[in-house]
């Protein structure tokens, strides 16, 4: 029989004496949820690959819906993990030199189809002059870019959406900005925009499933890379979200 090597006394001594920090609870819950999620994901994949026999189109559709929801849940769990690590000061970036304009172009291309289907005009014009590279975590900064651009697509007003993406140099920094003509954020909420779980009433109306963690995590990623993140309301409709990253002098 398999025995775990934790001591019973360790457990009872600490129980109730110390209240665990909320970030610790989140971290434990997220870890516990990740495991069954990966199991379900694997099982669905095997069924969909027809390893166990043919499935009919309706069964495929249902399995595919299950998979989509499992993936959404995995994303939420990952966000919770990130939150607990940020709160504990243990969120780590793996810094590498990268071109923010190239990465932005890649992501704009990836999101173009969704933008078009959502009746959104998504534009990004690369400058002729190459911008200096920045030092940041490629995977995590990709999450920031995807989140900011997706927010603009998701939270558009009725009618045609218009999103303008720019990457430019501003002094010793490279600045990314994403300007939209969407629902915007009410002025009374400005101070809460980067708080965790913040969602404007209108945003909840459009997508009840969001967790309100994206901007909070974005802020941590940008700031841990030495940059700043902010927003300004546009004249008329919508918002411009931007962030800066310091330029690294390369030999």
């Amino acid at each position: 029989m398999v025995k775990y090597n934790f001591q019973k006394e360790d457990f009872s001594n600490n129980l109730y004496k110390e209240r665990p920090k909320i970030s610790e609870v989140i971290s434990i819950v997220a870890h516990q949820l990740r495991h069954p999620l990966s199991v379900i994901k694997n099982y669905l994949e095997v069924l969909m690959l027809e390893d166990l026999g043919k499935i009919n189109p309706k069964q495929r559709e249902y399995l595919s819906d299950c998979l989509e929801n499992v993936e959404r849940m995995a994303l939420n769990v990952n966000e919770l993990m990130s939150i607990s690590l940020i709160e504990e000061g243990r969120y780590e970036l793996s810094l590498k030199l990268l071109s923010l304009e190239d990465l932005t172009e890649e992501i704009v291309d990836e999101l173009a189809l969704w933008a078009k289907a959502s009746n959104c005009e998504l534009s990004f014009q690369k400058l002729e002059k190459r911008l200096p590279r920045v030092l940041t975590d490629p995977i995590k900064i990709r999450m920031v870019l995807e989140n900011l651009i997706s927010n603009s697509i998701r939270y558009k007003k009725a009618g045609q959406g218009k999103i303008e993406i720019k990457v430019e140099q501003s002094g010793q920094e490279v600045m990314f900005s994403c300007k939209d003509n969407g629902i915007g954020i009410p002025k009374k909420d400005f101070s809460k925009v980067f708080s965790k779980f913040y969602r404007s009433e209108e945003a909840v109306g459009i997508d009840p499933n969001g967790a309100g963690l994206g901007l909070y995590i974005n802020k941590a990623i940008v700031e841990l890379s030495g940059g700043k993140i902010g927003f300004s309301p546009n004249k008329g409709f919508g918002m411009t979200f931007y962030f800066t990253l310091p330029i690294v002098k390369e030999k």
């Binding site: 025995k3 775990y4 994949e45």
Partner: protein, 127 residues
């Protein structure tokens, strides 16, 4: 060409994951061995000399990092390629796993079963 009967040892506590990997890896032609904790895993590495080890990190009795350290310290097992398959996704865990000699590090929630099989095959081609 890959020898179709090459042995894969999976060290994984979760029986559901072991089951699906057993089905998948046997289906694509591997011999599948399994262990449910680090100590049993290390013993099977020594006794069975698998061609590749799929190693989880959070394991009862002996964790995956310690399994790696022990097998690297043994000249009979140090050259067996190890692919880590874990839910630990922090950069420090990945760096630690790779620096201890794992050939690849895969995060369970981020990778599909077929992708894992491809990565396993990739490692076996190299050896």
């Amino acid at each position: 060409m890959l020898n179709p009967k090459r042995k894969i040892l999976m060290i994984e506590e979760d029986r559901f994951l072991r089951k699906i990997y057993r089905d998948k890896l046997t289906k694509v032609g591997f011999e599948f061995l399994e262990a449910t904790n680090g100590e049993e895993g290390l013993n099977k590495i020594i006794d069975e000399k698998p061609d590749l080890v799929l190693l989880d990190l959070i394991l009862p009795i002996k964790n995956g990092f310690d399994v790696l350290i022990d097998m690297k310290a043994n000249k009979n097992t140090q050259n067996i390629p190890v692919v880590i398959l874990s839910n630990l996704a922090q950069e420090s865990d990945i760096k630690r796993g790779l620096s201890l000699g794992a050939k690849d590090y895969l995060v369970k929630t981020e990778i599909s079963l077929s992708q894992v099989v491809d990565r396993v095959k990739e490692q076996l081609v190299k050896t």
